[in-house]
């Protein structure tokens, strides 16, 4: 990634839903492929920020550049380069889909839809599923999987699309600790392989030690930078609007809020 083409750049962005501002004057730049995590309380605008980066909601003010492309001018080009992992809770759990249908969707959306899938496309999907350690579930119905397995399959779908940038919306929510660890390690490997990762989460604890940049968001950017500088009780308390504690045990750090959502 060339340094003159930032991975993501928001410049004084306001986003509004029905005249209520969901994001206010959001400004930040991520230059190189990095593991960026956005945390904040419910209603902080975290999902809105991802949707704005994909051009799915239009800002009422400001400019968004993703992978060097002005999102407002060419949102479809951005979407075809980005991998997206939605909140698992928002998926329709009654939809009839096999695991392979879900993963192949990532490959399919990257080629003309009238062209047939080739053996190579199937191999790409199989490899993506293997990377999340679930290759034996290829023919299983998606809805038969546990929450953690479903989340890993959704990440495999995004991987199969070979994105330059991966946006994930609460991928650790409702996921068992083993799957959380597997997901975080995989994302970290992707960053090392040159893919930018931007993740929205409530739960910062499984990520500490892997994150390159941390954004504390509560409609406005409260703080953005290296996590070592932001994991301070005062900064986190300002983000969540209530007391947040930070405990350090050796080199490991734990964040705890009143409702344990920090």
């Amino acid at each position: 990634m060339s340094s003159c083409k930032p991975l993501i750049a928001f410049s004084h962005v306001d986003v509004a839903y029905a005249h209520e501002l969901a994001l206010i004057d959001v400004t930040f730049t991520i230059e190189e492929p990095a593991f960026t995590v956005i945390v904040g309380p419910n209603g902080a605008g975290k999902t809105t920020l991802l949707r704005a980066a994909l051009g799915l909601v239009k800002p009422v003010r400001g400019r968004i550049i993703v992978l060097g492309i002005d999102v407002e001018k060419d949102p479809w080009r951005v979407r075809r380069l980005v991998g997206y992992v939605p909140q698992r809770e928002r998926l329709d759990q009654t939809m009839p889909a096999l695991v392979r249908d879900v993963v192949l969707m990532g490959v399919s959306l990257r080629k003309p839809l009238t062209r047939r899938l080739t053996r190579r496309d199937y191999e790409k999907a199989e490899q993506a599923l293997k990377r999340v350690g679930l290759e034996e579930l290829w023919d299983e119905p998606f809805t038969h999987l546990s929450g953690g397995q479903q989340q890993r399959v959704l990440i495999a779908r995004a991987l199969a699309a070979e994105p330059k940038l991966l946006l994930l919306d609460e991928p650790l929510s409702g996921v068992d600790p083993q799957s959380q660890e597997a997901i975080v390690k995989l994302l970290s490997e992707m960053v090392k392989g040159g893919v930018g990762v931007v993740m929205v989460t409530h739960d910062l604890n499984p990520l500490i030690g892997y994150v390159d940049y941390l954004m504390l968001l509560n409609k406005r950017v409260i703080a953005f930078g290296r996590p070592s500088k932001l994991l301070e009780p005062e900064v986190l308390s300002k983000t969540y609007g209530r007391r947040v504690h930070v405990f350090r045990v050796g080199s490991t750090c734990f964040v705890l809020s009143g409702d344990s959502h920090a």
Partner: protein
């Protein structure tokens, strides 16, 4: 000679029923999976209203039905692509308003009641070769469009949010699907009637959803169930001298109820549990 004529009538009726049921199962699978079953009913209602208004104003009823159904299909697709939540209200309003319009048109003269009845239940035994050719053309065009756009239709049905976020123009598929349903219902209404046309769109696909674990599975099972409904309903109607469309519709409804009771997705055995007085649905 009479036997020959009767056999020709029966063969034509059977071909028409099978064509209508199989094509509807294909389009209906996407409609039901998208939770647009009400759209099938609403389009059928506006088709009927359009046909009745056209009839009393001395216009070709099929043109009236087509213009009304395409208008509703456009409105629904527009509302759904805007995601402002009015599509359900539009469908509800369309059913009520079109019923009122049809009633008003019919009230203008008593002689129209026979026409109205023929559009409601169709005249599958009286289907002409021209009507079969029209149904065959509509079915072939539908099949080709679905085959060409299959992956887009599938992914925009399974996970529209991610599909759009990763570059699929999901609103295009909204329009394609509702236009296909609109045209198909107009063609089928003349042959099998409005009531059976909307049963065909919804019932086999809804039954199949209870039994299959993939979109391809839903389409295949829906086609098989539509085929069984058509053959069984047709045979029963001939054996007991019952109205063909209504009998096929009832067979399709019975299959749907059975699929609900026996669905493995509902941890199955609901029927068995019911028999053991354990089912407290």
């Amino acid at each position: 000679m009479l036997e020959y004529i009767l056999s020709q009538i029966v063969i034509r009726a059977l071909i028409a029923s099978l064509l209508a049921s199989l094509t509807s199962a294909l389009v209906g699978s996407f409609i039901v999976l998208r939770r647009l079953s009400t759209m099938g009913a609403a389009i059928a209602h506006v088709c009927f209203a359009g046909a009745m208004v056209a009839y009393v104003t001395d216009v070709d009823p099929s043109l009236g039905a087509l213009s009304m159904s395409l208008t509703l299909a456009t409105a629904i697709s527009y509302a759904r692509s805007r995601r402002e939540g009015q599509s359900e209200a539009i469908l509800g309003a369309a059913i009520g308003i079109s019923s009122a319009i049809a009633a008003l048109a019919l009230s203008l003269s008593r002689e129209y009641s026979a026409v109205a009845f023929s559009y409601l239940v169709g005249d599958v035994l009286g289907v002409s070769e021209r009507e079969i050719a029209l149904l065959f053309t509509a079915s072939t065009i539908t099949l080709v469009i679905v085959a060409l756009l299959y992956r887009g239709l599938k992914y925009s049905t399974l996970d529209p949010e991610t599909a759009e976020a990763m570059g699929l123009r999901v609103e295009v598929y909204e329009y394609v699907l509702s236009f296909l349903a609109a045209v198909l219902l107009v063609v089928e209404m003349r042959v099998v009637g409005m009531i059976l046309a909307q049963v065909y769109i919804v019932a086999p696909a809804a039954s199949a959803w209870e039994l299959a674990h993939s979109v391809e599975g839903v389409i295949a099972v829906a086609a098989v169930l539509a085929f069984i409904s058509a053959i069984a309903g047709f045979s029963i109607s001939l054996a007991f001298n019952l109205p063909t469309s209504a009998t096929i519709g009832i067979v399709a409804a019975v299959i749907y109820v059975l699929s609900l009771l026996l669905s493995p997705k509902r941890r199955g055995r609901c029927l068995l549990a019911f028999l053991k007085r354990e089912c407290r649905v």
